[in-house]
C-alpha cells in the first residue's frame, strides 16, 4: 500500500520543528528515521496530515561527553550509536542492544531517539534507557524540560511527549564500575523481542553490591524488575543466588498475550532471561 496523503516539511533546527508541530496541531507527526512510522503509514494504521522531518537538524545528531554522563542526540542512528567509542566505553549496554535492532539497513536509518519516542513495548532501547536511568531532554511549546525514563514511558506506544514536543537528546549516566548485558529473545533474527532483559551489575568482593534489571515487552511499557534488584542487592555472586532472584522477574509485571506469545510464556521467559542476563552481566 501507499500512505494516505500528507503534507511534509523538512526543518533545520529544533526551534523550527517545534514551530511546525505547533502549526500542525494534533495531526502532526515527527519523522525521525522512519523505520517504524513509514510502515504504519503504508498500512494506513496512522494517517497524520503533516510530517515534520528532523533529518536535516544537525544539532540532534551525535554523542558527546558531559562529565558523569553521555548526551546522545535523538537523531543519532542506531549504527552510529553501536559504533561510537563513547557509547562503547561508558554505555556498552546501549551499543549491545542497539546492535540487535532490525537489520543493517534499519540500523543505518533508524534513530536512538526515534525508538524511544515510538515506545514500542517490543522495542529494545526503552528498557535499556530505563535500566540506565536515562533522562530525556524534550523541547516543546513551553521550552525545554527533562523527563526521567521512569516517567517517560506512559503506555502502549505512548510517552510523556505531547503532540508539539520534540525529543532532543538523552542523558545517560556513566556506569563506572558496573558491567552490563542485554539478553534478547526472539526466534527470527529480524523480529522484535518476545522478551528482553537489560541488566547492569556492580560486584564487590564476591557478592553483588547492586543490580538494575529492566524488562522489554513484559507490559505496555518497559518495567524495572524491582523484586530482582532487591533480591540481588548484597547477594552472593553465585548461579543459585541469581536464579533465586530471577524467579521474581515478572513480579508486578503485566505481560500481554498477543500474536507472538502468551502472557504465561513471557512470564516464564522473564525469569529465564533475567537469570541469563544477570549471569552474563556479572561475569558468572
Amino acid at each position: 500500500m501507499i500512505p494516505a496523503p500528507f503534507d511534509y516539511t523538512r526543518v533545520a533546527t529544533v526551534e523550527d520543528a517545534v514551530a511546525a508541530l505547533a502549526g500542525a496541531g494534533e495531526d502532526g507527526k515527527v519523522l525521525a528515521g522512519g523505520q517504524s512510522l513509514l510502515p504504519m503509514l503504508r498500512l494506513r494504521l496512522a494517517a497524520p496530515t503533516m510530517l515534520v522531518d528532523l533529518g536535516g537538524v544537525a544539532e540532534l545528531r551525535g554523542v558527546r561527553d558531559d562529565g558523569d554522563a553521555l548526551i546522545i542526540g535523538a537523531m543519532t542512528t542506531h549504527d552510529e550509536v553501536v559504533k561510537h567509542p563513547l557509547v562503547r566505553e561508558h554505555a556498552p549496554l546501549i551499543a549491545q542492544a542497539a546492535e540487535t535492532v532490525g537489520d543493517r539497513q534499519i540500523r543505518h536509518l533508524g534513530t536512538f531517539g526515534g525508538s524511544l519516542a515510538h515506545a514500542d513495548p517490543a522495542g529494545d532501547l526503552p528498557g535499556v534507557a530505563l535500566a540506565l536511568d536515562a533522562v530525556m531532554s524534550v523541547a516543546g511549546p513551553g521550552g525545554m524540560r527533562d523527563v526521567r525514563a521512569s516517567e517517560f514511558f506512559v503506555d502502549y506506544f505512548t510517552t510523556a511527549l505531547g503532540p508539539g514536543d520534540v525529543l532532543v537528546s538523552v542523558r545517560v549516566p556513566k556506569l563506572t564500575g558496573w558491567t552490563t548485558h542485554y539478553e534478547k529473545f526472539h526466534q527470527m533474527a529480524q523480529s522484535w523481542s518476545v522478551v528482553g532483559v537489560a541488566a547492569a551489575v556492580r560486584r564487590s568482593n564476591g557478592s553483588i553490591a547492586e543490580a538494575r534489571v529492566a524488562l522489554t515487552n513484559m507490559g505496555v511499557t518497559p518495567v524495572r524488575a524491582h523484586g530482582v534488584e532487591e533480591a540481588l542487592a548484597g547477594a552472593p555472586a553465585t548461579a543459585d543466588a541469581v536464579a533465586t532472584a530471577a524467579a521474581r522477574a515478572a513480579d508486578g509485571a503485566s505481560p500481554l498475550t498477543d500474536g507472538v506469545a502468551s502472557a504465561e510464556y513471557r512470564t516464564h521467559l522473564a525469569s529465564v532471561l533475567t537469570k541469563r542476563a544477570v549471569m552474563a552481566a556479572g561475569g558468572l
Binding site: M1, A4, M188, A189, V194, Y265
Partner: protein, 800 residues
Amino acid sequence: MTVTEQRPGGEVGRDRRRKEDARLITGRTAWTDNLSLPGMLHLAIVRSPMAHARITGIDVTAARGAPGVVDVFTGRDVADLQGSMPCVWPVTEDTVLPAYPPLALDEVRHAGEPVAVVAARDRASALDALELIEVDYEPLPVVLDMEEALADGAPLVHDAAGTNRCYTWILDSAQAGTGADVARMEAEAEVVVSRRFIQQRLVPAFMEPRSTVVDPTGDQITMWSSTQVPHILRVLLSLGTGVPEHKIRVIAPDVGGGFGGKLEVTPEEFIAFAAARRLNKPVKFTESRSEAMLSAHHGRDQIQDITVTARRDGTVTGMSARLLANMGAYLGIITPGIPILGAFMFGGIYKFPAYRFECTGVFTNTTKTDAYRGAGRPEATFALERIMDELAVELGLDPLELRRRNWIERDEFPFTTAAGLTYDSGDYAKATDRATELFGYDALRQEQAARRAAGDTVQLGIGVSTYTEMCGLAPSRVLGQLRYAAGGWESASVRMLPTGKVEVVTGTSPHGQGHETAWSQIVADQLGVAFEDVEVLHGDTRASHKGLDTYGSRSLAVGGIALVNACRRVVEKAMPVAAHLLEADPADLEFTDGAFRVKGAPGAATKTLADCAFAVFQSHDLPDGVESTLDADATYDPENFSYPHGTHLCAVEVDTETGMVKIRSYVAVDDVGRVINPLIVDGQVHGGVAQGIAQALFEEARYDEDGNLMTGTFVEYTIPSAADLPDLVTDRTETPAPGHPLGAKGVGEAGTIASTPAVVNAVVDALRPLGVADVRMPCTPERVWSTIQAARAANGGELR
C-alpha cells in the same frame, strides 16, 4: 546416422552462471509492474473485511467523484462481462464446484474477497478512492475449523451446495488390486502406531507480488501477468469469459518467483480483463504485499490421521491415511487435486504391501488453498517420515535401521508400490550412506547420549527423512484417469537462424528456475553450437502458442525431452543438406562434435549446422524434396512420472528452558538423476530446504475466530532470512532416469518435500527423554516450551 549424446567438455554438467541473472539483478528487465502503456488506468480493489457476509449495499458515489477516478464498478456492474473462475480438477464425479465470481455478487465467503474496483489515472488516486466506497455487510455465521465444518448443522460456506464437504476421494490398494487389505493388516499386526499430524496453512510468499496489465486496444486483447502458467491462463480466460482464444494473447514476462502460488488463474486477472474490456483502455493491477498475503492462494492445511502397522521385526505391513484437506472458500484451478497428488506418496520408498488413503476436501470461510511447492507430496512425506520415527521408537530401533529394513533395494526396480506407481529407479542405500557419512551420524548419536545422561538444558536431536517424490508432471493418460482437465505433455521448437544462431521456443514458463541457461546448455550439446548462440523464448503465447507451463518439477523432466527431440529433428533435417554440401551419401554421415562428417574418415571435410542453415536460407542449391527450413517442433508426453529421491539429516539443539530450536547441521543428499547445471540444482535444493525448514520452524498463516487473517504482513508471517538458516551441506548421488534421454528427474520440489520431516523428527528426538512424542508445526519456541510443560505435567514432573 549416429547422434552423440554429449561431447567431451560439453555444456551439460557444467556450472554455468545463469544467463538471466544479469538482467534480473540489475533491474534491466520488465516485470509486469514496470509496464506502462499510453492511457493506462490503475486498478485498486475493495476487499471484504468480513469472512462471511451478505452484501446489502454498495455506495460508490463519493469514490466516483474522487480526483483521478475514471470508473468504479461492482460485481453486479460486470456480472455479464467478468466470467467465472474455473476449477479444472474435480477429483470425483460428485465434487462440489461452487460458483466463483471474480468480483463478489451478493455474498462474500472469506476475508479479502474482491467486492468493488476503482479505475483511476494513477495508483495513488485509485487507492485513496477505495476508502470512499461504503459497503454494507450483513454478517453470516463463519466456519473455519474443518471438523466443525463437517458437523451437522454447521454454517454453510455455500448454501446452494447444502454441505461443506467438497469431495471424498479414496484409494484402497485391496480394491484397486495394487496391494493387500489394510484392515486385515491392522487385525493381524503385532504393532500398530497411530498419530494425528497437522499440516498448518502456509503462504507461498513469492518475491514479486502478482501484477497484471491488460491492453484491449489491439486486435487481440493482450494480458501481461506475473504467472507461472501463461498457456493455461489463455485457455481458461477464453473458456471463463467467452472471448475467443485466438483473440487473447498472454505474456508472462520475467516473473519473480511462484512456488505454486502463481500456478493459478486469479480473480484479479479476470477483474483486470473485465475492466479493460469495459473501459476499452489498458489497465494495470498490482497487488500490495498485504493483498498477496490475504488473497493469493495459500498452501497445505490438512489434518492427517495416520496409522502404520508392522511386525516386531520392523517389517512394515500397511499404512493408512485419512485426511481432511482445507479447500478454503472457493476452488482454485487445482485446489481439490492437491491432496490427491500426495495420495500416491504415502508409501514413500518403502515396500508396504497394504495401503489405504481417504481424503475429504472441506470448505471453510478462509482464503482458498492450492499448489504450494511440493503440492500434496510434502504433506504425504511429512506424515510418512514422522510416523516411521514413531514406529522406530515403538520398536526400539534406530530410525535409519527401520528404514533400511523396509526400503526398496536398488535391484528391485522397477517396483510397483501399493499405491500403484511404478518407480523406475533409485538407490536409497547409497544416498543414505553418503548422508550419514557427511553428517557424522554415529558421533552425533554419541553426543546426544552424553547430553541426555547429563541432563543438559540444551538437548540434541537427530532427524531423518528418506524420501522419494513423483515429479515430471505428468503422463496425460494418468491425468485423465484422475479427472484433471488437461494433459501433461510439453513442447519445444528449435529454429535455426540463417547465421547459425539458434532460437528455442519452450512451452515451459520459468519464473526463477533458469531455463534460459539450462536449455541453452542442452541445445549447445545437441546441436554443437555455442552456449551464447542460443536464445530461449518463453512465456508469450504469440511466440510459444503451445505449452503447459512450469510446476511440479516438470520443466526439465518433461520439457527437456521435447527439447532434445526437437534438436534431433533439426539434425535429421540438416543431414541431407550436409550430405549434399559434402557430396556424400547421407547414410555415410555422422553428426559428432557439432559437425557432419563421413564416418570413419578422420580429417575429412565437415559441415556444421551453421553451414547447413545458411545453405537452407539461400536455398540456391538444395537437394530435391528438401524444405527450406531446419526448424523442428517436438511434443513429449511422459509415460511415467520421474522419481527423485534422497536422504536428509538434521541435527537440532533445543533449549529446554526457552523452547528455542537451533539447527546445528543439515545434510541433504539428493538423487535427481543427471544434472544439467550443478549450480542451479544446488540453488534449487537450498531454496527448497529453506522453505521446508520454514514450515517446520517458522511459518503459519493464522485466522482469528472471526476469520480475519492474523498473519497479514511479514511481521506476523515470519519467513526466515539467511540469518535464520543453517549452512547446508549438499551432495548428490546420480542414478539416471532410465528411458530419459537426459537422465534427469526434476529438482524443484525435492528440498521442500524432504526437509520438513527431517527437522521436526530432530526436534521430537531431542525432547523424547522428556516424554514428548510430537510437536505441532511450526515448532516455535513457545510451542516447544508448552509441549515440554505438558509432557512434564503428564509424567508427574519427572524426566522419563
